[in-house]
Symmetry: C2
Subunit: 397 residues, 2 copies
C-alpha cells in the first residue's frame, strides 16, 4: 500500500490570497461598476526592458537554426550569464563571489523552497514573523514542524536580533517581504557572527536587492565578514527586471560553506547543491538566460534601473499619502512594499479600503501573528492607478 508524506497534512492552508480573491470577487459582484485597483500581490506590471526583449528575440532565432540551436544547457546555468552576475552584482561592489559559486535557476521561490533538502530532517529552523510563507511551508512539508518565529516589530525596526535564537538555520530576507524594512551591515554582521560561532547556516533572500538606493544599506550578505563560511544567498530577476513571467533567479553557495555529518565531519554544501540541481533540475530556459544576460548590458542596466525607480516613486507616493493621513508607515524606501500600522484589525482595514476606496491591499495577519495590525501596500502598478488609489484611500480614511 502506498502511503503519503503525512507532513503535508500539517501545512497550514494559506487562505490569504484565496480569501482576498473571494472578498474582492464578492465586492465586485455587489458593485459591478466599481473600478478596483490592486495593490495587493507583489507582481510587476511594467513591460520588460527593450534590451531584454531584443535579446530574447535573438535567442528565439538561435533556436530556429541548426548552427545556433541550444538544447540541454548546463544545469547550473550558462557561463555567459554566471560571469556577468559575478562581475556586476558582486565584483563591482567589491564582494567576493565567483562565477562557479552561482547557480542559475527558474526562480528564487524554487531555490528558497528546495535548499532545505540538503539539511538534516531534524534541523531547527528560525524565520522572521511576519514572513514569506514559502520558508515555513517547505520546511513543514519536510517534517520540520517546530519553527522558531522571530518577531519583527516596530520595537526592533522589523529586524530581529540573533540573541536567544538557538536554531540551526535561519531565513533572513532584506529588503524584507512583507515589511519593506532593510537591515544594516551591523545587523547582518551580528547574524553572521552568530552563525559562525555556532556552526549555523543563514539562508539569505535578497530578491528585492535592486530596490536599495540608500548608501550604506548592504546589497548582499557577503558584504559581511565571514559570511562565506555560513551563508547562502538567493537572488531573483523577478522584481529586478520584471521576470515574474519569464522565470529566472540564482543562488550563491560559497566554496567554503559546510554543514556537518552526524560524526561531526564537515560536508561542503556546494557539491551537494550541484548534485541536487543536476539530478532534479535541467537548467533555466536558454531564451530566459539570454534575457537575463541582457539585464547586465549598459542599456539593460539603465532600463531596469529606470523601472525600479518608477516603482520606488510609486512607493514614495503611497508612503507619503498614508503618513499624511496620520498613519505610521514603514518600508517604501529601498523596497516596493509599504507597511502600514493600521492601529487595529488588519482584515477590517482591508475590508474598509476595499469597500470605500475599491483598493485591494494585503492584511498583515496573512503573513504571521506579528503582522496583525498592519497592511502591506504594493507599489507594483501604473502611476495613474497608484495616484488614483492614493486619492481614493485619502478620502476613505
Amino acid at each position: 500500500m502506498i502511503r503519503v508524506n503525512e507532513n503535508y497534512s500539517r501545512i497550514k492552508p494559506t487562505y490569504l490570497f484565496a480569501e482576498i480573491a473571494a472578498r474582492v470577487a464578492a465586492h465586485q459582484k455587489a458593485h459591478p461598476d466599481a473600478k478596483v485597483i490592486r495593490l495587493g500581490i507583489g507582481d510587476v506590471t511594467e513591460p520588460l526592458a527593450p534590451a531584454v526583449i531584443a535579446a530574447m528575440h535573438r535567442a528565439v532565432d538561435d533556436e530556429a537554426a541548426r548552427g545556433t540551436f541550444h538544447g540541454y544547457g548546463p544545469e547550473q546555468g550558462y557561463a555567459f550569464l554566471r560571469d556577468r552576475i559575478a562581475e556586476v552584482d558582486f565584483h563591482a561592489r567589491g564582494v567576493d563571489v565567483k562565477a562557479d559559486e552561482i547557480f542559475v535557476s527558474d526562480g528564487a521561490k524554487c531555490d528558497c523552497g528546495n535548499f532545505q533538502e540538503l539539511l538534516a530532517a531534524d534541523a531547527k529552523v528560525a524565520v522572521g514573523d511576519p514572513v514569506y510563507p514559502v520558508y515555513v511551508d517547505t520546511n513543514v512539508m519536510a517534517g520540520r514542524h517546530d519553527i522558531q518565529l522571530l518577531p519583527c516589530t516596530k520595537a526592533n525596526s522589523f529586524v530581529p536580533s540573533p540573541d536567544g535564537c538557538d536554531a540551526d538555520v535561519v531565513y533572513l530576507c532584506y529588503p524584507n517581504n512583507p515589511t519593506g524594512a532593510t537591515a544594516s551591515l551591523e545587523q547582518l554582521q551580528a547574524w553572521v557572527d552568530w552563525a559562525n560561532a555556532g556552526r549555523r547556516l543563514i539562508l539569505f533572500d535578497a530578491a528585492y536587492e535592486a530596490f536599495i538606493r540608500t548608501p550604506g544599506v548592504p546589497h548582499s550578505i557577503f558584504e559581511c565578514k565571514g559570511a562565506r563560511t555560513c551563508a547562502v544567498e538567493m537572488r531573483s530577476f523577478s522584481k529586478t527586471a520584471g521576470f515574474t513571467g519569464v522565470r529566472c533567479g540564482y543562488t550563491v553557495v560559497p566554496s567554503e560553506l559546510v554543514a556537518y555529518a552526524a560524526d561531526g565531519a564537515a560536508v561542503p554544501l556546494k557539491p551537494m547543491w550541484t548534485r541536487r540541481q543536476t539530478t532534479k533540475f535541467n537548467g533555466a530556459s536558454y531564451i530566459t538566460q539570454r534575457g537575463a544576460e541582457a539585464v547586465y548590458s549598459p542599456e539593460g542596466l539603465a532600463q531596469t534601473k529606470a523601472q525600479i525607480d518608477f516603482y520606488l516613486e510609486n512607493a514614495r507616493l503611497v508612503s507619503a499619502a498614508l503618513a499624511k493621513a496620520g498613519y505610521d508607515v514603514a518600508g517604501g524606501v529601498d523596497s516596493p512594499y509599504v507597511w502600514v500600522d493600521v492601529k487595529g484589525d488588519s482584515w477590517k482595514f482591508f475590508d474598509h479600503l476595499l469597500a470605500e476606496a475599491n483598493v485591494v491591499t494585503t492584511p498583515g495577519a496573512g503573513f504571521g501573528r506579528a503582522g496583525e495590525g498592519f497592511i502591506r501596500i504594493s507599489a507594483f502598478n501604473s502611476r495613474e492607478n497608484v495616484l488614483e488609489a492614493i486619492d481614493r484611500i485619502s478620502k476613505a480614511l
Copy 2:
C-alpha cells in the same frame, strides 16, 4: 550546529557521462584531427519548428507592452496550454484526462524527481534495470535506499512483469530509455491491475511517446482500464518538439488518485501535488508555454511530426546497419534509442567505437547492472553525421 541530509552521501556518483566525457577528451587530445560524432547523450539537434518559433516571438512581444504583459502565471500552467494538451494528447485518442488534471512544468525531469516528495519516506520503490538514473537518485536523496530492481532483459523483451514485485510504487518508462523498448497494452494493464489490487502507485514516464508509430502500442498509461485510480503520467516537450533548451513538460494526476495515511484513510494526490507546485514552483515561462501551445496547432503538429520522423529514420538506419553487422538490436522503432547487444563488456565496446570509428555511444553498464553487455546509440543527430557514423561503425566492426 547545522547537519546535512546524510542520504546524499548514499547516492552513487554517476560517473557515466563524466567518464564518457573524460574518455572522449583523452581521445581527442591524442587525435586532434579526428572528427568525433556524438550519438551518446539524448539531446535533440534539430532546430525548433517554425510554428513554435513564431509563437515565441509573439510571446516575447507580449512581454514588451503593458497591455499584453504576463507576470506570474498560474503555477499549474496556463489554461490555453492545458486545454490543448487535454484535447490533442488525450481526448483525440479517446483517453479521459481533464485539463484540470494536467500540471505544466519546466520539464519532466523535475516532475520525475519531485513527485516522490508526496510519498511516505519508507515507501518501497521499484524501477527497471537498466534505468534512467533520476528515479533512483531522487529516492535515495529522500532516504529510500532499498530500491527493487526489475531486470529488463532480452528474455522479457525489456518489459518486466509485476509478478513478485512487492513495492509500493513503481516507475515505468515506455517507450523506454535506455532500451528503446515499448510495452504492449496487455503488459501495462498487468501493472495497472497489480497496482489497483495492492493499492499501489505507478509513476509512468511517457517522455518518448511522440516516437510511437506502430498501431496498437499504447501512448498513455491511461489507455489501461483502472489507471485513473493508480497512476501518474509524466510527459515532455523535450523530445516531442525539441524543447530540451526551452524547458516544458507536464504531469497528469487524476482526480480519483489516492494514497493512504497511516490510519488507512485515502488521501487524494491531486491536491497534494497542487500544494507542492504552488509552494515550491512558480510556473513555466510564459514564452515557453506559448511555444508549447503552438506545438498543437495544425502547422506545429505537422512540423514536429516531421522532426520525429526524421529522428526515427536515423534510428532505423542505425538499427539496420548494426543488424547487418551481425548484432542483435532492440529499440530503434517507436523510439530514438537503439539498444545493441554487444556480446561482451560495454565499456570495451564503447572504447572500440571511439578509437576505431570516432563515434561516441553510451555503455549500457552506466544505466544499471542489467545494462551490461549492451550499448545505447542515440538517433539525435544530423542525417549526414548519422550516415557517416554508420559507415565508420560498419568498417570498425
